[in-house]
Assembly symmetry: C2
């Protein structure tokens, strides 16, 4: 399917150079065609971008939902650390997550609204699941705290900081160490002791 090849190339260049920095010529050349041919598959640059965005959203969301459906939820330490590992894993082997991250935080101005809607949609879903898990753990006295919202937001913060470190990512040793540091302190911050 040529459309998918185009989307793959577009994903790559949008991720590397941002919306404005990516050109249809580059994308077309990567696929082995002229930029005009892209218009046989997509209405234009915006249309192509939004298709890539929705694919990325689906990947991001389904990966995370799947993770939560698989865990037994009786071991918060394992479950949460596993989620961090999942995020790192996705980031490293899946260009879509990098794309998603970049566009979440620095969207092209004229598409900001459309992007925001998708971002908020995912965010709410993930946060809701996470919050219910934390509530279970609190009720089961596996972690401390009265409301589930606090550890949830703190954990999402850890996820963000790890993602940022991965984006920045020139020192792999530092990445590992920073992940461990953030995780250790976070876990001590919510664990019973």
């Amino acid at each position: 399917m040529k459309s998918n090849e185009i989307k793959d190339a577009a994903l790559k260049y949008f991720t590397m150079h941002g919306y404005e920095g990516a050109t249809l010529s580059q994308i077309a050349e990567e696929v082995g065609m002229k930029k005009q041919s892209i218009y046989a598959h997509f209405k234009g640059k915006d249309d192509l971008f939004l298709h890539v965005l929705r694919d990325a959203k689906e990947t991001e969301l389904s990966s995370k939902l799947q993770y939560f459906s698989e865990i037994d939820s009786q071991n918060p330490e394992k479950d949460l650390y596993g989620f961090l590992q999942l995020v790192i894993d996705l980031f490293q082997k899946n260009e879509q997550i990098k794309f998603w991250l970049r566009m979440s935080f620095f969207p092209p101005a004229h598409l900001a609204k459309a992007i925001d809607k998708e971002v908020i949609d995912i965010e709410e879903k993930v946060q809701a699941i996470l919050e219910s898990k934390f509530q279970d753990w609190i009720d089961a006295k596996l972690i401390v705290g009265d409301t589930a919202k606090m550890p949830t937001l703190a954990f999402l913060g850890v996820v963000d900081s790890i993602l940022l470190e991965l984006v920045y990512g020139n020192d792999e040793e530092r990445q590992k160490y920073k992940l461990e540091a953030s995780w250790s302190v976070f876990w001590r911050g919510i664990a019973r002791h």
Copy 2:
């Protein structure tokens, strides 16, 4: 000084639209001149960008260094929380920090090397100071831990996650709550108890 006005406008557009998305025409118009007049002050787009970058770096660095020189260092809880407040404050009233953040993580490809050098320079300095503070606090048994590196990196992670939330920033209530959540969990994670 017209050069400064140009840099101010450039800062604004580089921050909003990124390097590729910002145009010299827009910048010139903001200042009230033609884009060709910019060349009376700067060699070109790259030159203007690098000037803005260096100004931003200086602001970022001097603000943080000044903070550390002012604190008494005997109260880690107050000192660290104060640093978070400083970062938020800087971010909200100073466009340069937003610019700095965007360019740190998503630099224009052909200037990535130059930008990286500056970013690493600041990062190392801030980390070094922070690490020595943490070491003092550990020695004084004000916080737990054997090595200072772990709480340092974890704290830098908290800073990053807060910055990201500010960049994203459509829900101010959520921002405050997330800051409190990240901070509370972090502090409990390193505090003696």
